[in-house]
């Protein structure tokens, strides 16, 4: 993997990046387009090199746990998707890979899934990054539809498109949530419930940088918008302030590192926000430096945890003798983090200070304080476990095996050597990467002479040392800020609570209310539409009324009223029967002999069924009419609506009836004189086939309900 990435470096640095392209869902702009440009490869190199180290470390760290294999599998999956994020040229593919990193990190964070904290941490991490993912989805669609271009390398700078602000906001949401910036910074410490090597990989070296990478990629496209610099700088400053407080409060090694990671990411976001070519150079260098010191520090924390099963800085101490190589690693990485020469961290820090200085004095103050905090963190990680006074835990300690030590050492040595060998680094990696971001490279150097920022950094280191030695005092003085996690929980719970009450109201379990709602809404829709649209009724239609017709109508009306208001079952059934007779009568007088015959037979059957079955249904005494106002109103509303509908139906029609054809052809082609029957068994025989199917199913259903079609294991008792 590493070799592959390196082999791609050569053409990329010459300005002709390799690319790969095939179609996936071209209708939606989704092509699998990978483009190995120098910036992408630069990150890919970090991902693969550190990944290789982490794999080796993890397999030892997890031991013979049966889950190791699957964790390595998920790690590989994660690495692949992360490479997708950095190498994707198609923005939809970028989104796809982005989401894949979310999924795989979710599973990885939750590896210790029997621990409730791990589950909660994983959930929070996933939900927060999912907010970002969904924003990115929207941003990608907006971006693509606004420009018609789906490849990052071809996207034109946008500043006057009406959507640009929304796109920018969405991109920011995505980037800030992924890179744990304020106000989303709370998920990262929670995610530290993951096994330490996974934290080292995901939450320091790679995944959290995806947001930074996204912003860097969007820099050429969106940075001309007026909101770019202020937003990024302000948000990152807010993150830094939160981080400083959090660091002073933290006692857990991993939490310390996690908070400092948020700070480092904030620095990167800030640099991208400043957006000058010098700042971007600084960001690139810092990105490398951070990866090279933070991953080993995490691994050191992991080794300590592995050895003494404790990560609390107040309980650790005296491990330098027992774990010498771990201590060396810690020192190397720590020095880089403190920004002392000759490590890469020093070069990066100097550049950051210089970039900050060129922007605003208040910002530089903030950065200085942050660097101070870094120094303190580094001291905590390096000095306390190695030389601290609490030595009782150290008795059990043992040095980690080589398969864990080697990767740690190697990665931290990269920090050292790249600090020493800046010029090849510049030539092969940094400069091409920066160029592919669209800005001019700056010469790197460890020593810039005595400049204001050198003084600043010296000041910061001193202050950091002071803060470290006085940390117990500070610890007590620092006020507790409302935690973002708490706010997150409050919001979620509020929304969920709202959902619950809504569900409780809507799905309240009462069939009557369901029916009522359905009926009221339907009637309201119909009546509203009737008023709105031109639906003529024809109330003046007159036909002669025969006595027979009238009496049929009255019989129907009377028996339906009787059914409705019957207060006991027997009268109700009798009334229903008389209703059927009324229908039969009506069909007879309306020239529908087939209907009359069928209705008559069906009615008899229905009454028989009712009479046979009713012995089993409890009798009822209808409620008094007085308290049924609501029901009466709904019923009246329905009656009114249906009356209106009937009258609408009776207005002039559109002058066509297919049944004319039926009348003409029943005998000639259907060989029958009873047109209704010919329609049923010939013209529309499929309906009849369906109808007898319904009957058959009903018989099956009744069989099921009555128990004769049930084959339970035991015979029904």
């Amino acid at each position: 993997m590493v070799g592959l990435v390196i082999s791609l470096l050569e053409p990329a640095s010459k300005g002709s990046p390799q690319s790969l392209n095939f179609e996936w869902i071209p209708q939606l702009g989704l092509h699998v387009t990978l483009r190995a440009d120098s910036f992408g490869l630069f990150i890919a190199l970090i991902i693969t090199v550190i990944g290789a180290g982490i794999f080796s470390y993890t397999s030892e760290y997890m031991g013979d746990d049966s889950g190791t294999g699957s964790i390595i599998g998920w790690l590989l999956f994660f690495m692949a998707s992360m490479l997708g994020v950095v190498l994707a040229d198609n923005i939809v593919l970028l989104f796809v890979s982005w989401e894949l990193t979310s999924i795989s990190s979710y599973i990885l964070i939750g590896s210790n899934h029997r621990d409730p904290e791990a589950r909660a941490g994983a959930k929070t991490a996933l939900l927060v990054t999912a907010i970002g993912g969904l924003s990115l989805l929207a941003a990608v669609v907006l971006l693509g539809l606004a420009t018609g271009v789906w490849n990052l390398s071809e996207l034109p700078p946008m500043h006057d498109h009406p959507w640009v602000l929304s796109i920018f906001i969405l991109i920011c949401l995505a980037a800030f949530s992924k890179s744990a910036q304020w106000p989303f910074c709370f998920w990262l410490p929670g995610a530290m419930a993951a096994p330490t090597p996974i934290s080292a990989y995901l939450h320091s070296a790679t995944m959290v940088k995806a947001g930074v990478i996204l912003l860097a990629r969007m820099h050429p496209i969106l940075s001309e918008h007026a909101a770019w610099t202020p937003t990024l700088v302000l948000i990152s400053s807010a993150s830094m302030i939160v981080v400083i407080f959090a660091i002073l409060k933290a006692t857990d090694l991993k939490a310390l590192l996690a908070h400092s990671t948020v700070g480092a990411l904030a620095l990167m976001v800030c640099l991208i926000g400043i957006g000058t070519s010098y700042a971007l150079n600084a960001m690139t260098v810092f990105l490398l430096a951070h990866a090279c010191y933070k991953a080993p520090l995490f691994l050191v924390a992991g080794s300590i945890d592995h050895a003494v099963h404790n990560r609390n800085i107040n309980a650790l101490g005296g491990l330098a003798n027992k774990m010498p190589y771990t201590t060396i690693t810690a020192c190397l990485a720590g020095i880089s983090m403190m920004g002392l020469p000759p490590m890469l961290g020093f070069a990066a820090k100097e550049m950051i200070l210089e970039a900050g200085l060129s922007y605003a004095p208040w910002l530089i103050a903030l950065i200085t304080v942050l660097v101070t905090a870094f120094v303190m963190v580094a001291c905590c990680v390096v000095l306390i476990p190695a030389f601290g006074k609490n030595q009782f835990l150290a008795k059990k300690a043992h040095e980690s095996p080589w398969s864990m030590l080697v990767p740690m050492l190697l990665i931290s040595l990269i920090g050292l050597f790249s600090g020493l060998g800046l010029s090849p680094l510049e030539r092969y990696l940094i400069a091409p990467a920066v160029i592919s971001l669209g800005v001019k490279p700056t010469a790197l150097g460890l020593w810039h002479g005595f400049t204001p920022h050198l003084a600043l950094s010296a000041l910061a280191i001193l202050a950091g040392w002071l803060a470290y030695s006085k940390r117990h005092v500070l610890y007590k003085r620092i006020p507790i800020l409302p935690s973002g996690l708490l706010i997150h929980d409050i919001i979620w719970n509020a929304v969920l609570g709202f959902g619950r009450s809504l569900t409780r109201i809507i799905q309240n379990g009462s069939l009557t209310s369901y029916l009522g709602t359905t009926i009221i809404v339907t009637c309201a829709l119909i009546l509203y539409a009737w008023v709105q649209v031109d639906a003529p009724t024809r109330p003046s239609l007159v036909q002669k009324i025969t006595l027979a017709e009238l009496s049929a109508g009255l019989l129907i009306m009377a028996s339906s009223l009787a059914t409705a208001f019957a207060r006991q079952r027997l009268p109700a059934i009798a009334a229903l029967g008389s209703m059927g007779m009324g229908m039969t009568l009506f069909f007879i007088v309306s020239q529908a002999p087939d209907l009359a015959l069928t209705q008559f037979l069906v009615e008899i059957l229905a009454v028989v069924l009712l009479v046979v079955a009713f012995r089993h249904l409890p009798d009822f005494v209808g409620e008094p009419i007085k308290i049924q106002t609501g029901r009466l109103v709904i019923s009246a509303l329905t009656g009114l609506t249906m009356m209106v509908l009937t009258l609408v139906a009776l207005s002039t029609d559109y002058g066509q009836r297919v049944s004319l054809w039926h009348g003409l052809n029943a005998l000639k082609q259907g060989h029958g004189a009873n047109v209704v029957n010919v329609i049923l068994v010939d013209f529309r025989a499929l309906d009849t086939l369906g109808e007898i199917t319904v009957l058959s199913i009903a018989a099956l259903g009744v069989g099921v309900l009555m128990g004769s079609l049930k084959q339970t294991k035991k015979e029904a008792t």
Partner: protein, 143 residues
């Protein structure tokens, strides 16, 4: 229920009569009111009467086969009737006129289809009644 000879004889004749009338309804349905559905209902009413008079077992005996078998056979009959003109049109009808000397008889696949309807309706309605009646009976005996 205690059986009385008069009831027995009346019912026997009634059942035969209902059977014949229902078949008649089925046959004439194509030209006059009637058809498979009303025919089937009428035939089933014979089963209903017997069931109410003598109980579910008597009804079952009169049917000879289980109601569900009637249903399945009826459905298959209707399907069969619809397949005669397979090559040109599904459910296409086919008519033959038989000359019986004194009268001509029209026989067509729609008639077969209607017969299927008749059988299904007979099966379904008897199944309704028999199911409910037998449950009622077991309940009564259980008490």
């Amino acid at each position: 229920m205690k059986s009385s000879p008069i009831l027995d004889i009346t019912l026997r004749w009634l059942v035969v009569l209902l059977g014949i009338v229902s078949f008649f309804l089925l046959l004439r349905g194509h030209d006059e009111p009637g058809g498979g559905f009303s025919g089937g209902l009428l035939a089933a009413s014979a089963i209903i009467i017997v069931t109410i008079a003598y109980g579910a077992d008597a009804g079952r005996k009169l049917l000879h086969f289980q109601p569900l078998s009637y249903i399945a056979v009826g459905l298959l009959l209707s399907v069969l009737a619809s397949l005669f003109q397979w090559d040109t049109a599904f459910m296409g009808s086919l008519w033959i006129t038989l000359s019986l000397g004194f009268t001509t008889l029209k026989i067509g696949t729609p008639l077969l289809f209607d017969l299927g309807v008749y059988v299904v309706v007979l099966g379904v309605v008897s199944s309704f009644v028999l199911e409910i009646e037998s449950v009622v009976k077991t309940k009564k005996e259980g008490r």
